[in-house]
Symmetry: C2
Subunit: 234 residues, 2 copies
DNA sequence: GCCCCCTTGTGAACGGTGTTCACGCAGTCT
DNA sequence: AGACTGCGTGAACACCGTTCACAAGGGGGC
């Protein structure tokens, strides 16, 4: 027999798992319950999915892709100015995170121990895809002369070498100081949003919105050079 | 019969749970296994602990206390200068986090859904205790005239009111702009350390140490006013 | 001394989980 | 027609959290 809504496509499996995730967090995404909601018994799921870990991998990949696509959609709607594009992507990232707290926790929270992400697997792939989206924005900023960058000497030899290797690995045509600005942007944005989403700020602030808005604006100020007077701005 | 190392004290229970946590993450702290390692059957544990949630609460509280005590120890070894004290506490925080990644994830990572922290419970208490430790450092900085602070007007009315309420609630004799600096310090430090500990930086950097060191130094620079020339420095 | 009670342990049990396995049923290809 | 394959089933195993009735032991009151 087949489930009430048709065959067991990966899409239906992921959608059902995600509904459970949102309802009760990672512990609630339970093989037997996913099967139940699909109108099927648990062993049937094992024809399509290797096990619970695989289910979570599928879920992580799908959510990461959705987050990346949300940022890409914001970029397509944004004007060509690189500062505005970075701003748009940053806000899209935070908006998605706030609108999907549980999923965001799965992506960027404490890694689920006991769950082993397959090495070289789709988890890392989608993470890298997302990193490259932001990396491209910083390349655009550098080309427009808007990217602040510390002198290479200020970073120290070890960090400079590490950053140079990262640029190589990611295929970013940036100097170490510029890669540093990119990593700072990614790192601080992720920190700001993570702490907000996880609620570890609520003891201090009833409404995190204006605070986080200010923090992200300050971050952008730290990353960007002011618009040059020679080129008339927006 | 009694366990191989004596009676079932809370200390032994917590220590055993923590060993399991470190070995395999939160899913590995399993009532039956804790009991086994204590040389006892599972129902015996229920004489001392209400259940698995209670076990986790005990664990969170113990770890939070240990983290706070690590910071307090660093403060006791630090000179009286408030900048150096903040620096010492910050580094103690990060050091503890790096040395106890799993425990840190339990404290400041994605909240464990399905686990409901008891309202008004010890989890919140120890969190507040930690917040007040750092709060005191910022009060000292303000008294020494070393605390950078934005004008109240730059924050906006809603945020200012929220910050004023937070100062009241936490008993900190600080103006909204100064509370803002405190929250920024806490928030950014937590973000920097969280992202480092969770490993979400490893795609970019092989060695996060020099990068994070620089980020924390920059954060301190953003929080502090330069040492006034009138008062001779260290 | 005796009895009672309270603490703390035990084994058995219930319902839940992830996962595997032998089986069966429907199609599809030869 | 017959065989093979894809996909689902029920039963089973081991494990989990939790509860229950029960027993062994020590301490206090008569």
């Amino acid at each position: 027999m087949v489930g009430p809504q048709g065959p067991l496509t990966p899409q239906r499996i992921v959608a059902t798992s995600r509904a459970l995730l949102v309802e009760g967090g990672p512990p609630a995404v339970v093989v037997r319950e996913v099967a139940r909601r699909l109108g099927v018994t648990a062993p049937a799921l094992y024809r399509h999915v290797a096990g619970r870990d695989d289910l979570l991998t599928l879920l992580i990949t799908a959510c990461h892709d959705e987050l990346t696509e949300a940022c890409e959609a914001a970029l397509q709607a944004a004007p060509p100015d690189p500062e505005l594009r970075l701003r748009a992507a940053t806000w899209a990232f935070r908006s998605w995170a706030l609108a999907h707290r549980t999923e965001f926790g799965l992506l960027y929270g404490t890694p689920i121990v006991g769950y082993s992400a397959p090495a070289q697997g789709p988890t890392l792939r989608s993470g890298r895809r997302f990193g490259q989206l932001f990396g491209g924005l910083f390349v655009d900023l550098q080309r427009a002369g808007r990217l602040r960058s510390p002198g290479g000497a200020a970073l120290g030899a070890a960090l400079s070498a590490d950053l140079r290797a990262a640029a190589e690995r990611l295929g970013l045509p940036l100097r170490p100081g510029e890669v540093h600005t990119f990593v700072v942007g990614y790192h601080r944005m992720l920190g700001i949003v993570s702490v907000e989403v996880s609620g570890h700020l609520s003891w201090a602030l009833a409404d995190s919105e204006p605070f986080v808005r200010g923090q992200l604006e300050e971050l952008l100020d730290d990353l960007l050079l002011p618009r040059p007077a020679s080129a008339p701005g927006v």
